[in-house]
């Protein structure tokens, strides 16, 4: 038997996650926000905050086809081939509602295109090791293009690197530490998300007000960037961040933590969150304590939007839109047709405000549905997404 290796060829960028920990600004930590995250990268922060103001290019009303500050385009001539196409997808997991909505949206998008005759998707169930095998397996399946939603940035890098020479690779949502994929697609990003919420609180909460920051768990880059941008905003403000707590994304734990803070501090004047899944639990903690719900940051999850409307909250919902699950399919077809795509494809990332709430809130969707699915025009909506 000959000796073979499925390992990425030498010379490609070695994955160094901790290399991201470049110069963290030595910001004041007086407001209770603690040390700045090792994930904070000033240049990325500046870029993302800048992008928020830019008008995206692309067809109006179809944000999943738009690109913010597209910049360098990838030349895709070498991948051009005739249909029909066989697309493949290595999915990190469908282990949370956000990914559920996205996954349904992607399947519906695939169904739109007659020229995709085969679509092979493998679910890594949140296991890095399995996803590595999955990617290897898919590269041998005769796919015309490979879409990857990596489970972990650093650890999936070698597998993606290995796949790149064999077929066009499209990465979306979480990234990888190599630029070998033809394009990397995701919304503006975590800094913008975190800043949107924090800036809202800085504006709405009176100076000296007590703010509680709720984070899901440490160490996930998309979440770390959200917090680090919020920290920058809070550190510059007059607000007093009385606590930064981890909720594990667990509603019961969230509610308990918030209740404890209300008890201990008598009054909480604002709540920041790095993800909205448990926002309703936080709101209820105030209700159950018989308090006015202070300004709060949520996300575009249905139950929160509904609560917002019903209780007339002072709130904002930054988003990390699930419509990004449509884009990789569109990108794959463009690539296979030889059309150019942005090397780094940034999708617009709107925030929902009290003014725009009505346009995003759709009654009769399930509580954990994400409003920015961009799926309303897809066949099967709303039933396929659990609505009625």
């Amino acid at each position: 038997a000959g000796c073979a290796s499925d390992r990425p060829v030498a010379g490609t960028a070695a994955p160094t996650a901790s290399a991201a920990s470049t110069t963290a600004p030595a910001a004041a930590t007086s407001s209770g926000t603690g040390e700045q995250s090792k994930f904070f990268v000033q240049a990325d922060y500046d870029a993302q905050l800048g992008m928020r103001a830019q008008t995206p290019e692309g067809p109006a009303g179809r944000p999943w086809e738009q690109a913010v500050a597209p910049g360098e385009k990838a030349d895709t001539g070498e991948y051009k081939k005739d249909g029909p196409y066989h697309l493949c997808f290595s999915n990190a997991a469908v282990n949370n509602p956000w990914r559920q909505v996205g996954w349904k949206t992607m399947q519906a998008e695939v169904a739109l295109h007659k020229e995709i005759t085969e679509f092979t998707a493998l679910d890594a169930e949140g296991k890095d090791d399995k996803q590595i095998s999955d990617i290897a397996e898919l590269t041998g399946k005769g796919c015309d293009a490979l879409i990857v939603s990596p489970n972990t940035t650093a650890t999936l890098t070698p597998a993606v690197t290995a796949a790149c020479p064999k077929l066009p690779v499209i990465v979306f949502d979480r990234g990888v530490d190599t630029d070998c994929p033809v394009t990397f697609i995701n919304p503006i990003g975590g800094y913008a998300f975190g800043a949107d919420g924090a800036e809202f609180l800085v504006e709405k909460v009176p100076a000296g007000g007590k703010v509680l920051a709720l984070r899901i768990l440490p160490g996930v880059d998309v979440l770390e960037t959200r917090w680090s941008a919020a920290k920058v905003a809070f550190d510059k403000s007059e607000l007093d961040v009385v606590g930064v707590e981890f909720t594990d994304g667990d509603a019961a734990k969230t509610k308990s933590i918030v209740s404890d803070y209300i008890q201990r501090h008598g009054k909480i004047d604002g709540v920041w969150m790095d993800a909205g899944a448990t926002a309703v639990a936080a709101v209820e903690a105030f209700e159950d304590a018989g308090r006015q719900v202070p300004p709060i940051v949520g996300e575009d999850q249905q139950d929160f939007l509904q609560k917002w409307k019903d209780s007339g909250l002072t709130a904002v919902a930054p988003t990390y839109p699930t419509y990004q699950w449509r884009t990789p399919v569109i990108a794959a077809l463009k690539i296979l047709k030889g059309e150019e795509v942005p090397k780094t494809w940034k999708l617009p990332q709107p925030k929902i405000t009290s003014e725009s709430l009505a346009t995003y809130l759709r009654p009769d969707m399930p509580p954990l549905h994400y409003a920015l699915c961009g799926c309303e025009d897809l066949p099967g909506f709303p039933a396929k997404w659990g609505g009625k």
Partner: protein
């Protein structure tokens, strides 16, 4: 069951004059041994492969391609190595719920010590072995010296390791040199190096159980700790040694995963579900959860069965929820079959 006349099988007495000849226990033992639980698991494995092959063929695919064969091996290597260690722990009458967190920890230790340098490989491997042996030692000592039930003791160490890992790490860290990544990616024809590593660990453990004093005593302690102790076995040492071996297996799995991921990752062990899945694979392979009965070949079969199932699911693109349901049913059904066989044997 026995003869028409209802007489039970002749059971020889110690007294020579009433001793029954050949038809005695030897014959029965041979009969019971003919289709052991190990054979059952391999029959099941063959069955699943056949069904899988059929289903995939009907689906218009080809089950046994190079990619799937390599995939099955790659997918089972890490779980296989942990399960071998878990087999030892279960055989001695214990169990280890801390392996998942230990795998995360050791993947990080490996990647941090290696720091991308070839020169770091030897110290990295040594550090992993040391750390994991230490964790096993702690498990073993808590169980034997402090008399804490293995379930709670290893759950406790799991939480402690988790605390340490979560405290020190926010995400993947360290890096593994290219040469070490070959462990995760190279293959000899259709056989990945990782599968060879697994085979090596399995053979070593098998040899240990069959040919060494420690192996004999693992069975003895698992069979009946008091009997072993009164027979002069230092049972505490056996349990501690077994836990050290079990943890070292988890450490080796951590090394392999670091090689595959190119870095250490604080969640690679728990995401992989290596704690409960390794236990499931072991009992699927016919090792008694109570200890003292079973062995490595069964576990290898159990792990392969899970991997083949996974591969079939993958090819048929069955969704993860269906997989969980099927896995749950398969595990319970397999153990029910073993239980039936044991009960039949006992009732004779």
């Amino acid at each position: 069951m026995t003869g028409q006349n209802g007489l039970r099988p002749a059971r020889p007495l110690a007294a020579p004059e009433t001793a029954a000849p050949a038809a005695g226990p030897r014959g029965r033992a041979a009969l019971a041994g003919r289709i052991g639980s190990t054979q059952v698991i391999y029959l099941a494995l063959a069955g699943v492969m056949l069904v899988g092959w059929l289903l995939v063929a009907v689906d218009g695919g080809n089950f046994l391609t190079l990619e799937t064969v390599v995939g099955i091996q790659q997918r089972s290597a890490a779980l296989g190595i942990v399960a071998v260690g878990q087999t030892l722990a279960i055989l001695v009458g214990s169990l280890d719920l801390s392996v998942a967190y230990l795998i995360s920890l050791t993947s990080l230790v490996a990647a941090e010590v290696m720091a991308g340098q070839d020169g770091g490989i030897v110290p990295g491997v040594a550090a992993v072995l040391a750390v994991s042996a230490l964790a096993g030692l702690a498990n073993g000592l808590i169980i034997t010296r402090l008399h804490v039930h293995a379930f709670i003791a290893t759950l406790g160490t799991a939480l402690i390791i988790r605390g340490v890992v979560d405290h020190l790490y926010d995400g993947p860290a360290g890096s593994v040199p290219e040469s070490f990544q070959r462990l995760g990616y190279d293959r000899l024809g259709p056989v990945p190096v990782s599968a060879l590593l697994w085979a090596g660990v399995a053979v070593a453990a098998w040899f240990l159980l069959r040919r060494t004093r420690l192996g004999y005593r693992i069975y003895a302690v698992g069979g009946d700790e008091e009997v072993a102790r009164l027979s002069g076995v230092r049972t505490g040492r056996v349990i501690v040694a077994t836990h050290v071996l079990c943890s070292v297996c988890a450490g080796i799995a951590g090394l392999l995963l670091a090689g595959r991921l190119g870095a250490g990752a604080p969640t690679v062990g728990t995401d992989g579900g290596y704690d409960l899945e390794s236990i499931a694979a072991v009992v699927l392979g016919g090792t008694a959860l109570a200890g003292g009965r079973g062995g490595i070949p069964g576990t290898v079969g159990g792990v392969l069965l899970l991997a083949v199932l996974d591969s079939v699911f993958n090819q048929l693109e069955v969704n993860a929820f269906v997989k969980d349901v099927v896995r749950g049913v398969v595990i319970v059904a397999a153990v029910a079959v073993y239980a039936r066989r044991t009960a039949r044997r006992r009732s004779r």
